[in-house]
Amino acid sequence: MREERIRLIVEVALSVALAAVLGMFKLTLPWNFAGGSVSLSMLPLIVISLRRGLAPGIVAGLTFGVIDYLLEPYFVHPVQVVLDYPVAFAACGLAALARPRRSGVLAITEIGSSALGGAILAGAGRLAASFVSGVVFFSANAPEGQPVWLYSLLYNASYLAPSVIACGVAAAVVVPALDRAVPISRVSLP
């Protein structure tokens, strides 16, 4: 049992390392002048959430948020840092809510819908955090009366939507292959 718990800790940690590596290969869209890019960095967080559940997914996201900030800090407001890094990536753990209800052999449609649903939930959670962060930032630096919520929503959705589609498709391929190659016994963080 203890070995399973250690294995879970290591799986989460290595997923974070992989997320950091995948995040280095990113496509920054011309209009994303204030940070944010299209990448597969969410993919390992979605995979670990679908494989291990909500708590490990959230912890993986929190850890990746800290590492991502240490490697590539983008600090324009104290609240923005908390929301854009640990909170936004912890929200990727919401992908676990799309885990298939039953275990055993699953149909390809079940695997696909679970992976895509997980990616959409992860993206929606991250969008919510980044949206609030954007509202806080634009509110602090733009005059009152401007539609800061619209700026923030369009800005963050512009890079998150392609990332979610890419991660969803990739997760649909990776998760079943991983479950076959490296099966798990279900454990949870204390």
Binding site: I9, V10, V21, L43, P73, A142, V173, V182
Partner: protein, 263 residues
């Protein structure tokens, strides 16, 4: 596909700023950022800018590296200035072209916000420029102890941070090896449109995940056999706060709070 090692922003050095305990740097920077947002006068920003320039000078970090962090936010500053300066059909504008005008008060406010962002980015990047990721992770792990009171697995989180950071270069090398192996089998990553190029990465992602999770098995067994329990972990190198660290912490926090309250 290669990742520079060492990665991150750290610039090795032996300056007094490099030598400060990482927790002190994190603490002073946290209070400094909050104080910066509390400041409402140009005098306050000038004081903060002088403090940042002084720390950069003492740290021996090349100023161009500090300024490098500002380049990605150049458009953000332009947006900030324009969003404040431009008005549509408003009154009290200094210059105008049709209904579009530039308010002098708004322009000054925009420039104030933009300068504040520059000082903020320069000040916060000093922490990552003068502290190695390993020391920062260690410091964050030690700062997480209050969370364990609330039931958060702080020791496990600290271990995850350490392993993740340690394995980033290894994982990047693994990815590079798989890319080379698939290229040798005829895979092409630079042909066709975006969809075809994305599909070309599938034969890389699947083995990458599988190998990584198999490695997790091996690592877990290695940790278990070395009696890792997650509780009461000790360290080979234990960093402690020296008198100079306490002095910098107290002085830095006092100056930041004073500046935030009165400037």
């Amino acid at each position: 596909m290669s990742v520079p090692v060492p990665f991150g922003q750290y610039v090795p050095g032996s300056s007094p700023v490099h030598g400060l305990e990482a927790r002190v740097k994190i603490g002073v920077t946290a209070v400094f950022t909050v104080a910066l947002f509390a400041m409402e006068t140009w005098m306050g920003l000038a004081g903060a800018a002088i403090a940042v320039v002084a720390v950069v000078a003492v740290s021996s970090v090349p100023p161009r590296l500090v300024l490098r962090g500002i380049r990605p936010i150049a458009w953000l500053m332009v947006f900030t200035v324009l969003a404040n300066a431009l008005t549509w059909g408003g009154t009290g504008v200094r210059w105008h072209a049709g209904p579009l005008g530039v308010s002098e008060e708004g322009l000054m406010r925009g420039v104030f916000f933009a300068v504040r962002i520059v000082i903020l980015v320069a000040g916060t990047s000093l922490v990552t420029l003068t502290t190695s990721p390993v020391d920062l992770t260690d410091a964050l792990s030690r700062l997480m102890w209050p969370l364990s009171v609330m039931g958060f697995p702080a020791d496990d989180a600290a271990m995850m941070l350490t392993i993740a950071l340690r394995f980033i270069p290894t994982t990047a090398e693994e990815a590079e090896r798989i890319v080379i192996a698939q290229t040798a089998r005829g895979a092409r990553f630079d042909l066709g449109g975006p969809v075809r190029r994305a599909r070309a990465w599938v034969p890389v992602l699947v083995p990458l995940f599988v190998r990584l999770f198999r490695r997790a098995d091996d690592l877990a067994i290695a940790m278990e056999s070395r009696c890792y329990t997650g509780v009461g972990r000790t360290h080979l190198r234990v960093s402690s706060l020296r008198p100079v660290d306490w002095m910098v912490l107290v002085a830095g926090v006092a100056l930041a709070i004073g500046g935030g309250m009165y400037l």
